[in-house]
Symmetry: C2
Subunit: 341 residues, 2 copies
């Protein structure tokens, strides 16, 4: 059976880099959405708890329920089924129109659209939003935004969004004074933004991809993050592929000499994105994927019982014309996760 190894030392190494940048552990919220970016939400939560992380960010209520015992504070980013099930749950308000659907006494983080133009209320709706939420007896526990381009140091979007968010913070402070309500927590940094700031003024940062050892940015001064996931597959069957013989669907790989090949139990049905004959991938030990990856198998010029398919997905992301996030996040939940040192 294929398996995913989670390298604890690498995770703790990344967390220490994040912690150093954020300033203190109370300022660190780790993003665990989409099965912790494919790593395994329970396994990663247990390790984060061991490290001392108190805050987590997830996509929906279902994910929040899974990890409720691991964290003191959980922010749910994209849910329309708001509820006050747990006092530690906080729900993002992504749209002014959704206020009418909120139950009383819920914890809400107001998302403000500072330039990404995807989710969030408009800056000019800020006061109205506070008014309507206070009227409904809703606890406004956070105000936040999201960067559209923090990974691109050549763009001015980052500075512009920061400037706008600073103004929003000032306005929120005034509004809170007027309504005599507690100041909410402010947050705006994703992984790239965290490592671009000299110091963090916000109350906390939301760190996803850097936790897992990647950062998609064109900055030349990158933190020394280490991927924490490696993917391993097991041999199903071996044979000699004779000179002139082909292997797999379409027979797209033909051998120029007699070689020893084996089939391994991983394929795109497991979320390992399909490689075809035009995409050439080599494993960390130098084995080549021969021909097409099929739904449940791939073939390598190897005879080993167990093979590391990747311990870093940067090359795969390049081959697939995508980002590291997609390669790791699509991996099936059914693959066994194992924590190692």
């Amino acid at each position: 059976m294929a398996k995913i190894l989670l390298h604890k030392e690498n995770l703790f190494h990344n967390l220490n880099l994040i912690l150093k940048q954020a300033g203190k552990i109370q300022k660190v919220a780790i993003v665990l959405k989409d099965n912790a970016y494919g790593h395994g939400i329970i396994e990663i939560s247990s390790l984060l708890k061991e490290f001392g992380i108190k805050k987590a960010v997830v996509k929906n209520f279902k994910e929040a329920l899974k990890i409720k015992d691991y964290f003191d504070y959980i922010l749910v980013l994209s849910n329309k089924n708001f509820n006050n099930f747990h006092h530690n749950f906080h729900f993002a308000l992504n749209c002014f129109e959704l206020i009418k659907d909120l139950p009383n006494n819920i914890n809400v983080h107001i998302k403000v659209d500072t330039g990404m133009h995807r989710n969030g209320i408009l800056p000019e709706q800020l006061e109205d939003t506070f008014f309507k939420l206070v009227e409904k007896n809703i606890n406004i526990t956070g105000v936040f935004t999201h960067h559209k381009n923090a990974d691109n140091i050549l763009s001015k979007d980052f500075e512009q969004q920061n400037l706008l968010f600073s103004k929003i913070k000032e306005e929120v402070k005034k509004i809170c004074k007027r309504f005599s309500i507690k100041l909410p927590a402010f947050h705006s940094c994703n992984s790239s933004a965290l490592f671009r700031h000299k110091s963090i003024e916000d109350d906390f940062v939301r760190v996803g991809i850097a936790t897992y050892g990647y950062l998609e940015t064109n900055s030349k001064t990158l933190p020394n993050l280490k991927p924490i996931m490696s993917l391993w597959a097991n041999k199903v069957s071996s044979r000699i592929l004779k000179k002139g013989e082909s292997v797999g669907y379409g027979g797209t790989y033909t051998s120029k000499k007699d070689i020893s090949i084996s089939t391994y139990d991983i394929g795109y049905g497991d979320g390992f994105l399909r490689l075809n004959e035009n995409q050439h991938y080599t494993t960390p030990k130098g084995f080549k994927v021969l021909g097409r990856v099929s739904m449940d198998f791939l073939t390598l010029n190897s005879n080993e019982e167990e093979v590391c398919i990747f311990d870093n997905v940067k090359n795969l992301a390049k081959i697939h014309n995508t980002i590291s996030y997609e390669i790791i996040t699509t991996l099936s939940k059914d693959i066994r996760r194992e924590i190692t040192k």
Copy 2:
């Protein structure tokens, strides 16, 4: 919440085409591996049972256990944890060397490599394989092979593999007579092969992708299969994107005029493969994906509450330079499945 609709009428339509081609229902085994190619293994199993299908094919023991109450006969294709848990389970033997690991009294289908050179014993190992299995008191209930190129009518692989498999069948008949054992079931057809044969001589066919409404072949006479899955997403948030404003990561879509846009709750974290700004996709109703698909969201020039993202994945497969199989199979199990007429 995003959802997957499963169109029962389309499934039954496809099954009728398959049944007509196979000859009788006892000759039809439906492949349900990888969560029924992403459709939902339980939902599809319940519909297949209603239709009257008796045989199923899965990848591993875990999948077999899930559907054991729906079928009379389950073939497990890729397992190394062989066991005799259930008298209706049959395990593929993918390699001669694995015989030593087989427990007694297990049901085994011998896979023979007739040219794909991926899994299976070699043709010259056939007699030895029978000898060793009989010696271990193992029930040889099937002998089968897999086509490497049945979807390519320009290649001669299909005929060559058929010819070799015919010879293997003759040899098996002689061996069984000699050992005084019951003749195993023969099977070799996948979806493409099924629709290339005039009539089916084998004992049954293993139909995967055609069940779900697709066939990846260059034949000009295609059966009229209908996709049974459609993917739907829900609106999270709406706004006006003003002339000159951009949306999403990198701001890669910039509007030439004021337009109404909305964000919907589906992304590559749900297994809907990532589209970037160079890949242009339009939904069945004509809405365009604006900019990049992110982990949990995509943006459309729509204001509708619920939008059909696809009801046929052929275009998406083309855009992603892959096959329909991958687009449907990678969809997350966490997306709700609903059966509709």
